[in-house]
């Protein structure tokens, strides 16, 4: 699955990206983590506050850092 992490590069966004990568490693599946820091791209996706995370194009979290466990739960569906 495609995990997109939205954030301009502040500490919170970096933490979220790290958590996403940890979750992918734990899941053992084939998932891709992409960091999106371009504002125009964020806006096009309907992101209102950062950090935000989308799974296969669907926004799942925004405005807070989700833990690796939360992201893992999302990957397992």
């Amino acid at each position: 699955m495609l995990i997109e992490v939205f954030g301009p590069g502040c500490l919170k966004c970096q933490t979220m990206e790290k958590h996403a990568k940890e979750a992918v490693a734990q899941s053992g599946g084939e998932h891709q983590v992409v960091k999106v820091s371009d504002y125009a791209a964020m806006v096009a996706r309907g992101v209102l506050s950062t950090p935000a995370l989308a799974l296969d194009g669907q926004l799942k979290f925004q405005g807070r850092v989700a833990s690796a466990d939360e992201i893992l739960a999302l990957l397992k569906g």
Partner: protein, 347 residues
């Protein structure tokens, strides 16, 4: 498979009831403990420059950290009830006036990090929130910092906290109203204007968290914020301790007293480039007031540090052309100056 174990009382937040008496105890003994450390253990002389500076350091560090922990916990808990999507919907299509007032109020409580400023700004505009109303929100959100408000209340009482919130609201309300009247939409960057014409996209369905989830989020908030700001607090306390021990009252009254026309602009000029956060300036504010700086000048200083920060301006310059940025900064700076003069004159 065994049955899922129901989380115990302690896991569900019961430990908070145990943590509270500990907090109260630490807070109560802090003053005596700091004096004992400075004057008995280290053998410094009370009333000496060094003695007073060190005692301030030992007293203020635990005090500010304890208060910050409590304030951040309460504030983050309250914030789990507010989210930007709901605020945006409440502000959408509002007329100037009421819209500006609501936006300023929401600006206080909405969880907001300056790196969110750009997507939020565009998201608001796209949902039909008028530019002026959006500005009221963008001014209020950083200027009336919810943690600063809680800290002011805890350290200096409700009057100063109310003054801070009231004047911040007035600035956010008025500057948004003025910026809205100036019809500056065309000074948004080109890609923003394009984005505004684009179709509105799918929304995130946000679930309502349970009480224990809210407590968990508040605990996370404490870890995150206290873990991040303690260096600023230590720096602020060091500056505060220096002012407390070494800066003579006559100098402070001369620079930031109420009798000089230049004290308020000076306070703002010192404040803007200082990048700190709400918690970090508190010890400085404490020391300034203790040394006889006027309340108006001190409030102006604090608002300039928290509300008009260089990093945020740089972030906003990605969506606004220089003319709009300049207008935004000047209107806010003017508001802060007015507040400073007003309180120096009437108090």
């Amino acid at each position: 498979m065994s049955e899922p174990v129901r989380p115990g009382f302690i896991q569900r937040g019961g430990w908070l009831l145990l943590a509270l008496p500990l907090w109260v105890f630490l807070y109560a003994v802090n003053h005596s403990a700091s004096e004992w450390l400075a004057f008995h253990l280290l053998g410094l002389t009370p009333k000496s420059h060094l003695g007073e500076a060190v005692a301030f350091l030992f007293y203020d560090t635990p005090k500010v950290l304890l208060l910050l922990t409590l304030v951040v916990f309460i504030v983050t808990f309250i914030q789990t009830f507010v989210n930007p999507t709901r605020v945006r919907d409440a502000l959408s299509k509002r007329r100037p006036g009421l819209g500006n007032a609501l936006a300023s109020l929401f600006g206080i409580v909405t969880p907001f990090c300056s790196c969110s400023a750009v997507p939020l700004f565009i998201g608001f505009l796209r949902a039909g929130v008028p530019l002026g109303v959006t500005f009221s929100f963008l001014v209020a959100a950083p200027m009336i910092n919810e943690v600063a408000l809680g800290m002011l209340f805890a350290m200096f009482g409700w009057k100063i906290a109310a003054l801070y919130a009231g004047t911040g609201l007035a600035i956010a309300f008025t500057s948004g109203l003025i910026l809205g009247q100036l019809k500056m939409e065309r000074y948004l960057e080109g890609w923003v204007q394009d984005a505004l014409k684009g179709p509105a996209l799918g929304e995130l369905e946000e679930e309502t968290p349970t009480l224990s989830a809210r407590i968990e989020l508040a605990v996370q908030g404490v870890k995150e914020i206290v873990g991040k700001v303690w260096p600023y607090i230590l720096a602020g306390i060091a500056v505060g301790a220096f002012i407390h021990g070494y800066v003579p009252e006559s100098l402070m009254a001369g620079l930031l007293g109420k009798n000089h026309w230049y004290s308020v602009p000076l306070a703002v000029l010192i404040g803007v480039p200082l990048y700190s956060n709400a918690a970090g300036v508190m010890p400085i504010v404490e020391a300034l007031l203790g040394k006889g700086a006027a309340l108006g000048s001190t409030l102006a200083f604090m608002m300039a540090v928290i509300g008009l920060s260089l990093p945020e301006t740089i972030i906003l310059s990605k969506v606004m052309r220089p003319r709009l940025i300049a207008t935004f900064v000047s209107v806010v700076a003017l508001g802060i100056l007015l507040v400073g003069y007003l309180f120096n004159a009437i108090l």
